[in-house]
């Protein structure tokens, strides 16, 4: 099939950017979206045009590196699918495809479709851990964690930190990302000791990084390639109230 791409091109963080139009010819339905972009880039290089810069790495939907808004939806809007796992068979011959970077003040553009997501690391650094030391730990079975709790923690821990929740959120908020970590550690006994400080520090960091406030649009859950549920935000809110009360 043949497609028309409208791709955001921006030379650097402070340079002006705009949508450029490129043609993608002979696209195979079995190609992944990124492989289609690879081929467009090959064509651009041959023509002496600078190829489109985009983040990608594992190409199997787990590293969280790929980050493109396709036709207005982060990762292209297929259920539980990252851009790298999006395949061209979900497009039709002659389609116009708009490809834009994650947009949020807290994610400044580095180049073209590449953004700086360092602020997500800052949120984790504010408390997304248990303060255990290396070594000197009791046996793994010393703490019993019933299956429902372990499953709940795992549901939250599936977050790949790609930032789609922020890109999709009308408020540019990273609340789903933050809540996934808060909820995972709050439900496990080893995380409970620091739960109050964690929820305060992480939400404080979220604000300081320039992310917006959560106003319950739930667009984050719809954008999330791992289907992280907004129930974790409700859990974060409960944890916050508990912290206030304590």
């Amino acid at each position: 099939m043949n497609l028309t791409l409208h791709v955001w091109r921006q030379k650097g963080p402070n340079a002006p950017g705009k949508l450029e139009t490129y043609d993608a010819h002979n696209v195979s339905p079995d190609q992944s979206f990124l492989e289609m972009l690879d081929e467009v880039n090959e064509g651009l290089i041959r023509k002496g045009v600078e190829p489109i810069a985009f983040d990608h790495d594992c190409r199997e939907g787990i590293c969280g590196m790929c980050s493109q808004v396709i036709n207005g939806v982060p990762h292209g809007g297929q259920d539980r699918t990252t851009v790298c796992q999006l395949h061209m068979r979900s497009f039709k011959d002659g389609d116009n495809i708009f490809i834009e970077p994650w947009r949020a003040t807290a994610f400044p553009i580095v180049k073209d479709l590449v953004v700086d997501r360092g602020n997500l690391d800052v949120i984790i650094q504010a408390g997304g851990y248990t303060s255990c030391h290396t070594g000197g730990i009791a046996d793994g079975n010393a703490l019993l964690i019933p299956k429902p709790e372990a499953d709940y923690a795992m549901d939250a821990a599936e977050c790949i930190g790609c930032g789609a929740c922020v890109a999709g959120c009308p408020n540019g908020s990273a609340m789903l990302f933050t809540s996934a970590k808060v909820a995972q550690l709050a439900v496990l006994p080893q995380g409970k000791a620091e739960a109050a400080a964690r929820v305060n520090n992480m939400t404080e960091a979220l604000k300081d990084c320039g992310f917006g406030n959560c106003t319950n649009h739930y667009e984050c859950q719809a954008s999330c390639p791992k289907g992280i549920n907004v129930k974790f935000i409700a859990k974060l809110n409960r944890e916050y109230l508990k912290a206030i009360a304590s």
Binding site: I45, R59, C63, D121, G128, G140, A150, M154, G161, Q184
Partner: protein, 637 residues
Amino acid sequence: MILDGKCPTGPIEKTWDKHRFDLKLVNPANKRKYKVIVVGTGLAGGAAAASLGELGYQVEAFCYQDSPRRAHSIAAQGGRNAAKNYPNDGDSIYRLFYDTIKGGDFRAREADVWRLAQVSNNIIDQCVAQGVPFARDYAGYLDNRSFGGAQVSRTFYARGQTGQQLLLGAYSALARQIKAGTVKMFPRTEMLDLIVVDGEAKGITIRDLVTGEVRAHVADAVVLCTGGYVNVFYLSTNAMGCSVTAAWKAHKKGAFFANPCYTQIHPTCIPQSGDHQSKLTLMSESLRNDGRCWAPKKQGDNRKPGDIPEEDRDYYLERKYPSFGNLAPRDIASRAAKEQCDDNRGVGPGGRGVYLDFAASIKRLGEHTIRERYGNLFEMYEKITDENAYKQPMRIYPAPHYSMGGLWVDYNCMSNIPGLFVLGEANFSVHGANRLGASALMQGLADGYFVIPYTIGGYLAQTKPGAVSVDHAECKRSVEEVNGNIKKLFSIKGKKTVSELYRALGKVMWENVGMARSDASLKTALKEIPKLRDEFWNNVNVSGEGGDFNQQLENAGRLADFLEFAELLSKDALHREESCGGHFRVEHQMPDGEAQRDDVNFCYAAAWESKGVGNEPELHKEPLKFENVHLAIRSYK
């Protein structure tokens, strides 16, 4: 030169404890005077940086991704071994040690493997304390499952994302140290040279991938945790950014490269769908429990799988290995699939694939049971291929997955360059010629959490902190060299793109140095690789400018290193006139197709010393002694 791994002697059970006691210590007040560079933030690097930072060293950590959380350890699916013996099924440290030595086809050091088995239990405890949500039973106890190469259930797992969860655990420990100020993190940086001063590793030269700046960082020791090199085959299950570059730069500065020919080809991956393919996706090996491998009997049979009657199907694994059937070991299964396709009986695009058929199991157990066991894998398969594996057989094909070889290290995980430590997949130490499932995660974390924190002290205690500054002539020379290299890449302005040449290298490597290697094929590769390298340096087109975010330049640099490394890998494969584990020489096989080792002549680790590009590398041997496990034919029959 005969290399010495400096393994402790005496009863194997006491080696690590004794060695820990013998190691020199750095007193707590002095630790903060020492600076350590950690390159790579996967399981090994993340764990090492966090643990060293916590001990009080000043740590600088580097990764090429935009966050330390994205290292490719994250993609590991199955699980992680530990000899906890929770299921009470007869496991022990000794048994894990034994299984790993045997699984590695008797090509690993006993003492290293013992240590790995011993600390495996601590790692589980550590990860649990970090909040890793391992699978549990309803009573709250940790759950185990079985994995290949072992008869006990010792694999701990977190759904199909064990690697992700372990990495996020290490990442959270690292985040805590970054916050505490003990670790300084440099994401989006790539190591492009090792700085060696008076024979000791004292720093690295990196390129900032955002600004393009090339600069030197100095330290009192350098720890490389930069993963494996199977992207030399172009298509592999590795991430796009995985490369040999950091290890190769260290090799060119004097570090020995050991056993590069030991590469693992995983039998169950989704086949290539066309020339556009950029990477291959692994499907868990567990599928072979319920799937039957077959290929059409007739050559070039283009019928749909459902239209091929039973009598025209060749269930080749069941035919060739009646006792093991579809559960034949990884290397055997991989080679058998290749044979079918080489015989023009492969299926799917390009005829590079065989069927993995669940029809019989679905009939026997019902679709529901199969869905329960493998639902997520079937879903992933459908996403990529648009085929419903409940209705028609899966197509699978082997793909490069892991590299057992790596930089040579002694028992302390220190290379032959003092001050240069190498951890995880980047070193060669514990997997011998073949790695067992669920052992890679174990090794990365063992090295990072429980080995390097002790052994680095032994080295640092004997060095003066802060001996070298960035103004040192070696640093300047290194930065100039890296800049010169970048300039050279831009100046070629040839006709071929980086990925065209990369695909060409991958084709040469896969066809000649892949699953089955012969004297002739290796010699062909050794002729083709230098030609490609010449073409690269004369005809590659790297667009853009240096002082910028430039992915073409990154890829070109990585390919340049692969083009040199590929030659060493092929040479090592040519020199090793035996078959063992992942290294299969067609000249050396048993009548039944099993690998035929030559313990008289090749029971050693081959460590290669660089003598410059295009020159013959020098081989150093480290003899392997087996005092606890007897050398035997590796058989799972």
